[in-house]
């Protein structure tokens, strides 16, 4: 089971779940509702490196394409092939089966700069997108 309280969030609606020195990335329930039915997911290759805020994946819904940014800097160590085969997992299970990739965290202090769930809820409520 995922625990939102232990996860971190970005203003671009990614969630970030830390396991040791690895962090898993997906999009929030709020984001999947906004995006509508996801029909295509393009993931980064293993070994690719991204700096915090760089576009690391693309999610396409029926309506439009959306960039998924790296919440922190790091190297891709896992990519979820289930979600490329069945993109609807992003809608059905945004916090579990619908994860995109995991990266090896380069700088732990970047994680601390991300929002807590409480911050994120507040962020959504204030109407920011």
């Amino acid at each position: 089971m995922y625990d939102l309280e232990k996860m971190r969030f970005t203003k671009t609606h990614e969630w970030f779940r830390v396991e040791g020195n690895i962090g898993y990335v997906g999009i929030t329930d709020h984001a999947q509702k906004e995006i509508t039915d996801v029909v295509f997911v393009e993931l980064p290759n293993l070994g690719m490196e991204f700096s915090k805020g760089a576009e690391a994946a693309v999610v396409e819904s029926v309506k439009a394409a959306f960039s998924i940014y790296a919440p922190v800097s790091g190297k891709i160590v896992k990519a979820n092939s289930d979600v490329t085969k069945d993109p609807s997992l992003v809608n059905k299970s945004p916090y579990e089966e619908g994860w995109f990739y995991a990266l090896e965290i380069k700088d732990k202090s970047e994680v601390d700069s991300l929002m807590t769930y409480k911050d994120y809820e507040e962020f959504i409520k204030t109407g920011a997108h």
């Binding site: 509508t36 039915d37 029909v39 295509f40 393009e42 693309v58 029926v62 309506k63 439009a64 809608n91």
Partner: protein, 365 residues
Amino acid sequence: MTHTEDKKTPLYEAHRSLNAKIVPFHGWLLPIQYTSIIEEHNATRTKAGLFDISHLGKVEVTGKGAFEFLQLLFTNDISKTDSRKIVYSPLCNRNGGILDDVFIYNLSKDRYILIVNAATFEKDLAWFNSNNSHRVDIEDINDSYGGIAIQGPASAGILQNICEADLKELKRRRFCETKVDGFSCLLSRSGYTGEDGFELFVAPEETEKVWGDLINIGKPYGLLPAGLGARDTLRLEAGCPLYGIDMDESKTPLEGGLERTVDLNKNFIGKEAILNRKAQGIKEVLVGFKMRERAIPRTGYPIEKANKRIGAVTSGTYSPTLKENIGFGYVTPDNSAIGKEFDVIIHAERKKAQVVEVPFYRRKR
């Protein structure tokens, strides 16, 4: 564009109570989806979908010169409207540029209703008024009707429960004046989805009742309310171009593949320009294409052939029915034949696409 308060359709509260996701759309607040675009799309293809079409612009044209007025303004032959046939026609300016595409209903002698796009309603009205040499009455009747479309193979079976007219007698693209739920109704066998279906217009205060009854009666048939998202994927699969996206004033009906809706045997505004362009030869043409590599084309993406730009995508989507990625775009005529291949530039990558026959989807009859 001036910012005014977005209008609510007579079904606004009904959408809210169905937990729809509501978005502003050309001055109206409309549902983009209720639960899922794909579910709503599939329900419409296999059972039935119910759409709020109250936002469509409605104009009534009456008076002695109404027929002549419409013949002059529209490219298609308005005499085809007799026997209660709905005529689809581009509306062109003097340069032949498409101002709008319109459905024309002939209610009685000298009386017509025009169904126009919500986005172009004000522009159309101004155009009608500034070209009213036949001194007809041009009336904005937007507030006189709410609109509902019921689309899909089960739609006749559902609607018949509350419709006075025998729907077996109502042919495709024809309309009748009948009663639905006991209310006076303008009913046509038409739509924007490629399925059998109906569009009906009733008084605004009666619209919610009709909507609610169709939802309830339709439930055992598998009917779902469907939003703008499904409307867009359905119309694309059905090969229906969308005004403002797939055509605009920079295109004539020739580029838009709408030549069959242009009657060159009559006089109309824009005819000379269209004849000239026809003589010179067009430089671009709207085609339907399928992606041959996995990627979704979107509005504005460049189309290239041998590294040279030959056009751009106007509409594109993942097709829930075909489970392929499809699109419309303008390309040079030498690249427009069915089977021709080109590249669409998607996220800075070159992805292969091929011109195919439109509609992409054709229902089984």
